[in-house]
């Protein structure tokens, strides 16, 4: 199996060395620098997830990806994820088809919800309609990717009648994934519509997703689709030593969870739960290059996945800490994982 390795960011708002938050604008410029550096560090993919909050000020990641595209030559660039339900699939297609043009065929999308919900009220959608919105829009997106005039009717946007949607793709459909967080019916949908499968594993033991890879493979067969890849997306942080990585990551993790817990009404986890998640059976990849590499290799193998995307960074980490993490991930973790997987 050929393995590839990526980095994802949500535009996590950076701080300076004394803990003062940087502006949204500076954070966005730093993300562009980090994306360009990801290519230099040898990585295969750089993804930006759509978010609409003060601590993840990244609602238009495709614009940042275009800036990265202009300064790179090889690295693939995409969303991680695009909140398709609260967007117009035609516009999403056009933006990423434009990125594909700028980058010479390096665009990708991961479609899903992520854990982001802010876009629904912001754009006037009802979260209770989530399923219907996603199902219809993913179906339309799959049609758009095929190229050629599109005819489509649904409840969630205006119909299209033999519509030529531009820009035309230069070299066929770009890679498109559906992000799944644990609902097996979403796995079936990805297979049915001809998307690849992105497993977002952000808590609990990753191995429990092994059945989902098999479900995806069998569902592709059932729907007469060709084999398609599975990727794993999980959060983490790499530093020179385990101690250092945890010391940098844990306070920021706790702060971020506390923000979300306050918004959503659940209790803040204790450090013991962090230790579980950073251990061998948890979902967080926090540690030295050796520790993180061992865990990635074990889980790619267990899950039958061919790509791993590390969601790096957290609100409050510094640009320097992130650049170090990118360098260690690209130059030490990834080569070590390749070695382990033979």
């Amino acid at each position: 199996m050929t393995y590839t390795f990526g980095l994802d960011t949500f535009g996590d708002r950076n701080s300076d060395a004394d803990g003062t938050p940087l502006s949204h604008a500076q954070t966005i410029r730093n993300v562009v620098e980090q994306g360009v550096f990801a290519e230099q560090a040898g990585l295969d993919f750089f993804g930006i997830g759509e978010h609409h909050t003060d601590y993840f000020p990244m609602p238009a990641g495709d614009v940042a990806l275009a800036a990265i595209a202009a300064q790179t030559e090889r690295i693939r660039l995409g969303s991680a994820v695009t909140v398709l339900s609260s967007d117009d699939p035609v516009r999403v297609f056009q933006r990423y088809a434009t990125l594909d043009a700028i980058s010479g065929g390096r665009a990708e999308v991961i479609l899903g919800r992520g854990s982001s919900i802010e876009s629904f009220p912001l754009f006037g959608y009802d979260l209770a309609d989530y399923e219907e919105l996603f199902d219809e829009k993913a179906t339309l997106f799959a049609e758009l990717l095929k190229g050629g005039p599109v005819t489509w009717h649904g409840k969630t946007r205006a119909p299209l009648l033999n519509q030529d949607v531009v820009p035309h793709l230069e070299s066929g459909p770009f890679p498109a994934w559906i992000g799944v967080g644990g609902n097996p019916q979403s796995v079936i949908r990805a297979a049915r519509l001809g998307f690849s499968l992105a497993l977002a594993i952000i808590g609990g033991p990753p191995a429990r997703f092994a059945a989902y890879s098999e479900l995806f493979r069998r569902a592709l067969e059932k729907f007469g689709q060709p084999p398609r890849p599975v990727l794993v997306h999980s959060p983490g942080h790499v530093a020179a030593t385990d101690e250092r990585a945890k010391a940098e990551f844990w306070p920021r993790w706790r702060e971020t969870i506390a923000l979300v817990a306050e918004e959503r009404g659940f209790a803040i986890p204790a450090e013991a739960s962090f230790d579980r998640e950073t251990g061998p059976d948890g979902a967080l990849y926090v540690g030295s290059p050796e520790t993180v590499a061992d865990k990635i290799a074990a889980n790619l193998r267990a899950l039958g996945a061919s790509r791993f995307d590390l969601k790096y960074g957290l609100p409050g980490l510094t640009h320097d800490q992130l650049m170090t993490a990118i360098e260690l991930y690209g130059q030490q973790v990834v080569p070590r994982v390749r070695e382990l997987l033979g």
């Binding site: 989530y130 644990g182 019916q185 098999e214 069998r218 959503r264 009404g265 659940f266």
Partner: protein
Amino acid sequence: MHSIRRLAVLGAGHVGPVIARLAIRAGYPVAIATSGDPEDIALITELVIPGAEPQWASDAVADADTVVLAMPLHRFPDVDPGLLTGKLVVDAMNYWPASDGVLEAFEASVRGGRGSSEVVARRLAGSAVVKALNHIGYHELEDRARPAGAPDRRAAGLAGDDRAAVAAVADLTDRIGYDPVRLGRLRAGRVLQPGGPVFGQVLTLPEFERAVHEDARSVR
């Protein structure tokens, strides 16, 4: 007391398969159903919930004495209350507007101080409704289950107005791997909801009891 003999799990999304697997492992016969054709979840059942039987919802419920509601709460109005008459119903759903959006049918009641399961129970007047298995996240519920007596066993709360039904669901909770904590009448199940002291938490029995106790004091 009722003794649970056969479960019907309604919902094959995030939560339903997890509860179904736990129940199968504990030795219960389990059917799983969605609002649609069982053929649509045949592959999911085979690979993700081995041992469960995919059925039409009406067949699954007819054959079972206990029905677990594990569908998104906004789909609950589609459930026919007549179908559930005489059944023990485990409400594992949550009203969680910050995550899933506002639902008219629940918003006013919950703002007025009632629990979402009280709204569910009012609609299912012919069933014995117990709120349970709703407050531990689906990504942890299976991983943290432990046999009785294990040193790292955790607790799970439940509440309901029918004492025999509560006893039966306490037994179910125990057998799938958690120390059952009976909170009292359905109304008391509000502490298990989003915003409550144990929602999203996986606590030992003493930790659970302390969290609920401290919350009661702060409310008083």
